[in-house]
Subunit: 720 residues, 2 copies
């Protein structure tokens, strides 16, 4: 038997889960339609009843529309204010910070401006002995209705949850963030990682992302465990809080998201290496934090004492971490490679619309494939984005390149600002906040110490191997840029069932607010205080079809077509002892990476794109037929002109400026002829010009050019 | 008490409603997270139980991912095959037809290739006296679970519904089509209506769309009522089928969707007027069909005999039709106008990303606003699209123009092909088909007759008023192009609760299949058989920033900047008696439209865009301040060159070819200077050149040029 009085209650908030699409409208309408039709068909006495249900559903549908409309208007307002800020060159507040402020305001209005409507929530009386099923069939006066499980409600909350209908309406299902909003953000991040400087600093970035996040997670976890112990002694803790919970908090709060800082870097053209380090770290450590947090959740020791240390369970967690991470990585890479192959071997580039649609679908299928196989979709999407940028992008037509970029740029922009405005809203509308000042202060101290403990020691060790040291000012800037953002929020809101998780969620929210506003606002002063060079001319990714000019340092463009040559790794012509030593060190320390790079250059690029040396020259003779099939005809066409022009560069006084004319893109997707430079310097190398990489030893002052020797350098940072 | 054995049952199919976003993944994951957390927190004996729930949810989540993946791979396959077809210039099968075929194949595999899993569906025992509520709270051994209403299940189906889990998985909530898939399709249609020929044929298009759809609806409805009566006599009808049901069927099946024909027209450059007539009719009659069908559903006579004729209820239905239609129209127009104002008075065009995001959000908010106010979102979105194309588009930056076009093009493409592949799938996976051969044959005859009864008589009446008659071959082609597509399907699947509706759904599905395959394939032969000119040089919408050349007839470009002039309607200089008569007829018949056109040109365009005459000249003197505020400074800048060049045109031998250099777009969004023509003819008009419209009386042969008089013509087709 069911208690009466739940009629006025509208659709549950988890239906409101669609930030991008008005799906939620579906349910209301549908029940209305079903009710209306059965009413027309049956004509029985329950027609009035069903009319009431229909009215109710319609009302609920309207409320859903209104609440979604609220978010859209919020975003519109944010966009207009951002424009005003950009127009006036205001830099102290980023769009995400602004979105949060507007969200906060709307949250306050909803919380205190709308009447509480808790009256119509009555008790219930349908009991069940066994367990909860995901679907119920209910017999209502001869008619059968199907109900689906929405979730558990803690008994104490039954009467308080329903405080305010509007508050419920604007509360989204947390999984929306993971399944709808984060994928485009993460994919866009991966897709825009196609920067020379990312690959140049790959070693450091991987170290920061993997080691750094692990270190940060454990340090924060342990510090927070101390705080929790303290709270227990003081008597501020009203429920259980285990060590694994602390570690979980450490994992979710270790996902940095310096979107504010990076936007300012971009605008001010700050140092490109620092940008690459920060951006690369933040992108990859999101992936690490997701997998780390799910491994910690998966830590379930055998026996009754489920929160003691258990070596077997620990290693199982480590195994889960490695398994999920490598699995997701593989999924992402595989779909990226498949897309590259498809775009290479079909002439889809004649139809940009088809090409863009295919690109979108394949990238989305990565997410679903990973989820279907039990891996993490968001992580897979990240690596898919990187693969797509590295291979598929080169096969796309010019129009599709801009289309895909713009499509994901818009999706990313909308999703990101939606999350941040939702964060602002959640501070007031979320119903289960647990504010614990001790925990919050402890968390702020812990994240500060955690970041310090990973940036400074790691930078020290990395500097031992790096030729271009990460200076103190860079380290301080990285330390400073430890903002928390969308990923930490999404991880924290994913599970707010227990007391510990609720406290974590509240704390995470406050940390995000504080870091985005304070650190975001302080970036410009910090940059000048730390003497970090700004105004470096580095064209953005949008100018990729134009020439690239790079000042101060000679970078590596991994996307540029190298001329075909087999003996790519016979590094020659270093006529100074310094460069020779550098080579040796490089060869010793980074053989694994070089192996990969050579493999990528000699086999993967030729197979997956229209660039690179022909496979007929790189593959052994016995697979000549296969090589001929896989090699794109464009490669042969590009062969001659490349060999002649690839070593051109310009030397101007003061700065060493190398012109790498970016590969001009032809309509059939091949990227070939390099643009000529204005002045030639050094000997026109004939044989050892096989790599696209030229690097000058710039000395300490960075302006002193030692132009005697040209050397072959791989996109590595650790050539001491 | 609840019966056992429903554990293995996965998430219900209505969760699977997300074609574009993996929302469905949310629910599975979420329950898993909730279960896992409560398990960690509680540590009670129910931990094992919850682990089972978690496993179940995870399994369901995977199945959801797999089924969505199926659709994505289906679309990918479709894209690749389309490419192959386009590459080989195969025209007999359109991409939508292809998507249906692939959908059919997958449907067959799912239906007959996967094992039926009906074993685990047991009976239920939780009864309720009162009525169905939208939410239930269920007490399971001390824990409370929340359930939401999914819908009613007819008692006979309880044990048969669950035949096959996979079939359930791939069945979407019908409202998905209305709330997610149709809006981008319809918006794109409206947004790409920015064609001269649409406005030129507006009168005819409106007549076909409104009168034609109403005529077609009533004729089909009445014919089908006859068929139903016949079936009752023969004994083939097993359940009720009312007259209103027949009318409803007439409404949903009157929505034409000649996507296949239009694609071929586009490719072959078929006659532009015919294209405009067909496209305009199909776009607008979708809107009419939606509103018409909901008005018929709303027809509820007072008293017990709910299916007899009741004048009050009838007029109420008519009122509802008018109310919903005008309300939705207003919503769409208002948001379009607001967007135009915002883009005009901010300098958002410096930031194309912000501009695009704003455009997207505003267009989406139309849908929500209309739904929130109780109007029809899809209809509102259509008119919003038209308004955006007419006004906002002119204010956007060049980059945003292409961005918005491409964004909605991709969304439209994906949504359309998704619907068609779902249609193919639904033929085999939909569980409630009612195949009735008599009804199906009757429906085919009825739609044929219904289309004939609206095309030929309407064309006859329109030809009385049209100068350029709609020839017999055009009428036959329009008759032939009565394909049914996405809209008819979405309307039919929206409600399949009763027997009559299920029969309608099955019939609609078969009609769509038949028309898309047979008519789509027969378009090219039909064009040549009917002697319809193809290969007419008409640049597509993408070339808008280039010059437009138009042969054979002089069209009207409503988006072109007219020179500022007050006395727009003093039509002068018709020195032949023929043209004078033409003017008089025009002035008599179309005064309403001309009033609107002059209002649009003199007030709306200057207020909403950077084009048109300055408001300071068109508004009365006493609102000079307001006029000065609203007029864009660009208008004054554009004033001089426009006046000089606007009457330039070229006369080549044979054809009359007028060059209207399209407004060249400057970076700040203003569209101004007209390109000069090569040869000038006729007197350079100084005063009466106020309208952008120049039309020559072409006589009967269309090649005989009487170039003595220039006349002012409005974008109307009915100037006899």
């Amino acid at each position: 038997r069911f208690g009466p009085g739940r009629a006025a209650r509208a659709l549950p908030p988890r239906l409101l889960l669609l930030p991008l699409l008005p799906l939620l409208l579906g349910r209301g309408l549908c029940s209305a339609a079903a009710a209306s039709s059965s009413g027309a068909a049956a004509q029985d006495s329950s027609a009035m009843e069903e009319l009431a249900t229909e009215k109710e559903a319609e009302e609920s549908h309207r409320q859903d529309s209104v609440s979604l409309l609220t978010f859209i208007l919020l975003l519109t307002l944010t966009i207009l204010t951002i424009w005003l800020f950009k127009h006036r060159r205001v830099r102290f507040l980023h769009e995400t910070g602004l979105a949060m402020i507007y969200g906060l305001i709307v949250g306050v209005i909803l919380r205190y401006g709308t009447p509480a409507t808790s009256g119509h929530d009555k008790s219930l009386s349908c009991t069940q002995e066994d367990r909860a099923f995901s679907t119920l069939l209910v017999n209502v006066s001869g008619k059968f209705f199907e109900y689906t499980l929405k979730g558990e409600i803690s008994p104490g909350k039954i009467n308080s949850v329903e405080q305010n209908d509007m508050l419920r309406k604007v509360t989204f299902d947390p999984e929306v963030f993971f399944n709808i909003l984060l994928p485009p953000i993460i994919f866009h991040a991966g897709y825009s990682l196609k920067k020379r400087h990312f690959f140049r600093n790959l070693g450091s970035i991987l170290a920061y992302a993997f080691l750094g996040t692990a270190v940060s997670c454990f340090i924060i976890g342990n510090l927070m465990y101390g705080v929790v112990k303290l709270m227990k002694i003081v008597g501020q803790l009203s429920d259980k809080f285990y060590y694994t919970d602390c570690l979980f908090f450490g994992a979710i709060i270790s996902a940095t998201d310096p979107v504010t800082v990076l936007a300012i870097f971009n605008e001010l053209h700050a140092d490109v290496d620092l940008y690459a380090l920060l951006f690369g770290e933040s992108v990859l450590n999101d992936a690490v934090a997701i997998v780390l947090s799910s491994s910690i959740v998966a830590y379930q020791p055998a026996g009754l004492n489920t929160h003691a240390f258990d070596a077997a369970a620990f290693f199982k967690s480590v195994g889960i971490f490695l398994g999920i991470f490598s699995g997701s990585f593989t999924m992402g890479a595989v779909t990226g490679v498949v897309t590259a192959l498809v775009t290479k071997f079909t002439k889809l580039h004649c139809f940009p619309l088809l090409e863009t649609a295919l690109f979108f679908l394949m990238s989305w299928s990565t997410f679903l494939l990973a989820e279907a196989c039990g891996f993490t979709g968001v992580v897979a999407v990240l690596f898919c984005g990187i693969t797509q940028a590295h291979y598929t992008y080169n096969n796309l037509s010019v129009e599709s390149r801009s289309r895909t970029k713009q499509l994901f740029e818009v999706l990313h922009f909308l999703a990101e600002n939606f999350i941040f405005s939702y964060m602002g809203l959640a501070l007031f509308t979320f119903q289960k906040h647990v504010f614990s000042p001790v925990f919050i202060i402890g968390a702020f101290v812990a994240i500060f110490l955690g970041r310090a403990a990973h940036i400074y020691p790691l930078s020290f060790f990395l500097n031992l191997g790096r030729r271009h040291k990460i200076g103190w000012n860079f380290q301080h800037m990285m330390m400073f840029s430890g903002l928390r953002g969308a990923m930490a929020f999404a991880l924290a809101i994913r599970d707010t069932a227990s007391y510990a998780r609720q406290m974590m969620f509240t704390t995470t929210l406050l940390i995000v607010f504080f870091t985005v506003w304070i650190i975001g606002g302080g970036t410009t002063p910090m940059l000048s205080w730390l003497n970090i060079r700004v105004g470096v001319e580095e064209p953005s990714e949008e100018d990729q079809n134009e020439h690239r000019w790079q000042y101060f340092r000679v970078g590596v463009d991994p996307d540029q077509d190298p001329p075909p040559n087999n003996d790519s790794f016979q590094v020659l012509q270093g006529d100074g002892p310094d460069s020779a030593r550098g080579n040796r060190t490089k060869q010793e320390s980074a053989w694994l990476f070089r192996l990969w790079y050579s493999f990528d250059h000699n086999y993967l690029k030729p197979i997956l794109t229209h660039s690179g040396p022909p496979l007929t020259t790189t593959l052994p003779a016995w697979c000549g037929l296969l090589a001929r099939c896989l090699t794109s005809p464009q490669v042969y066409d590009n062969q001659e002109p490349l060999r002649e022009e690839d070593s051109d560069f310009i030397l101007t006084e003061g700065d060493l400026t190398l012109t790498y004319g970016d590969s001009t893109v032809t309509a059939n997707g091949s990227s070939g002829s390099h643009t000529a430079s204005t002045s030639l310097e050094g000997g026109r190398r004939t044989k050892s010009s096989s790599e696209e990489v030229l690097e000058r030893d710039l000395g300490i002052g960075e302006q002193k050019v030692s132009s005697r020797g040209t050397r072959l350098v791989f996109p590595l940072e650790d050539n001491a």
